[in-house]
């Protein structure tokens, strides 16, 4: 049985797709056969972030409707072995994802894969609920900013009441906080909520903190998940998060302002 991980947030633009791409890639890089599913029907974007947009032939809705098989539809990642992408449909029909249809696809994928990463659309409507319904584990992506934190709390409420695990009275969906676009300098100046602040409010375990970085935009420009940019702090922070997800103990990094050395101060870098 595969482990189903939903990447969710409520609010849009906080880094769900960036996170799905990097976490999925990180899991596959460690040898776990992984598929990332784009649940954002009508606003497909995972393909662009993964750099496989020109290889999309069929999509998730085609599979549900029996118009294509899974093996025809899954896109094999060119950089990371063991990694596959299931693109979202660009249809404007909001009800294209049926619960029974999604369940069948997840069951079929479960036979073959170790991890299924569900990239949720923004909001708390049907699409977002469908993405989290079958989850065993949730990565709640949050920015250190009031509206994102509030929306994350709402999503946690939905995970606790409307997921399949909640409805069946099974053990609850495992919740993980991933704080993205973190700027230690602004935190130090009292202009941004700190990790501790967000942890206090949401009261769920911290999976990782991804520092705000130019590398994220650069990676999406190039269609390569930022975790593969091993030089960048964001890439390293995602790598830590994947390790923690797999049970490894890793200290949180990039939470403090980088002190400039004498030379850097001299040249003003």
């Amino acid at each position: 049985m595969a482990k189903i991980i939903v990447v969710t947030s409520g609010k849009g633009g906080v880094g769900k797709t960036t996170t799905s791409a990097s976490i999925g890639t990180g899991l596959a890089k460690r040898g776990h056969k992984t598929v990332i599913i784009d649940f954002d029907v009508g606003l497909r974007n995972l393909d662009l972030i993964m750099g496989c947009e020109r290889r999309v032939v069929y999509d998730f809705v085609n599979v549900i409707n029996g118009e294509s098989s899974l093996s025809q539809t899954l896109i094999k990642d060119k950089r990371t072995p063991e990694l596959f992408i299931l693109p979202a449909s660009q249809t404007r029909d909001k009800d294209a994802l049926t619960e029974a249809g999604v369940e069948k696809v997840l069951n079929d994928l479960s036979k073959d894969f170790e991890y299924i990463v569900c990239d949720s659309p923004a909001g708390i409507e049907r699409g977002a609920q469908m993405a989290l319904y079958f989850a065993d584990m949730a990565i709640v992506v949050t920015n250190p900013e009031v509206s994102s934190v509030r929306d994350s709390d709402r999503i946690l409420g939905i995970l606790q009441s409307k997921s399949r695990r909640a409805e069946r009275g099974e053990s609850p969906v495992e919740e993980h906080l991933l704080l993205t676009r973190y700027n230690p300098e602004r935190v130090e100046n009292g202009e941004m909520l700190s990790v501790e602040d967000v942890k206090d409010i949401l009261a769920i375990p911290l999976l990782g903190v991804i520092p705000e970085s130019e590398a994220v935009l650069k990676a999406s420009n190039q269609g390569s998940p930022v975790i593969l940019d091993e030089e960048s702090f964001s890439g390293q922070a995602y790598d830590d998060a994947v390790a923690r997800l797999l049970g490894e103990e890793r200290e949180h990094r990039f939470l403090e302002v980088q002190k400039k050395g004498f030379f850097k101060r001299l040249i003003g870098a």
């Binding site: 009031v146 509030r150 709390d153 409420g157 100046n189 202009e191 941004m192 602040d197 206090d200």
Partner: protein
């Protein structure tokens, strides 16, 4: 910047701590709403209508609260009647 303005800015709470305080209040409020059953809001409206048949009161003069303890739930109804 004068020496006085330096002291003044020190006293002002940082915007991050304002954010945290606001969030703690709104999140607690919304969680409370989430845990109470859906019918509470409708019941509150209907209780209000019944009371209004006899006295003229505004929406915020009736407070319905449901406390869940382990074994039982206590429904608390608080009506402020005008003098």
């Amino acid at each position: 910047m004068s020496i006085f303005s330096y002291f003044r800015t020190q006293k002002k709470p940082s915007s991050a701590s304002v954010a945290k305080e606001r969030l703690q209040i709104i999140v607690a409020h919304e969680r409370n709403k989430r845990t109470q059953p859906d019918y509470i809001e409708k019941m509150q409206r209907e209780i209000l209508q019944v009371i209004r048949k006899y006295v003229d009161i505004s929406d915020d003069q009736v407070k319905v609260n449901l406390d869940n303890n382990d074994e039982c739930s206590i429904l608390e109804l608080n009506v402020t009647l005008p003098e």
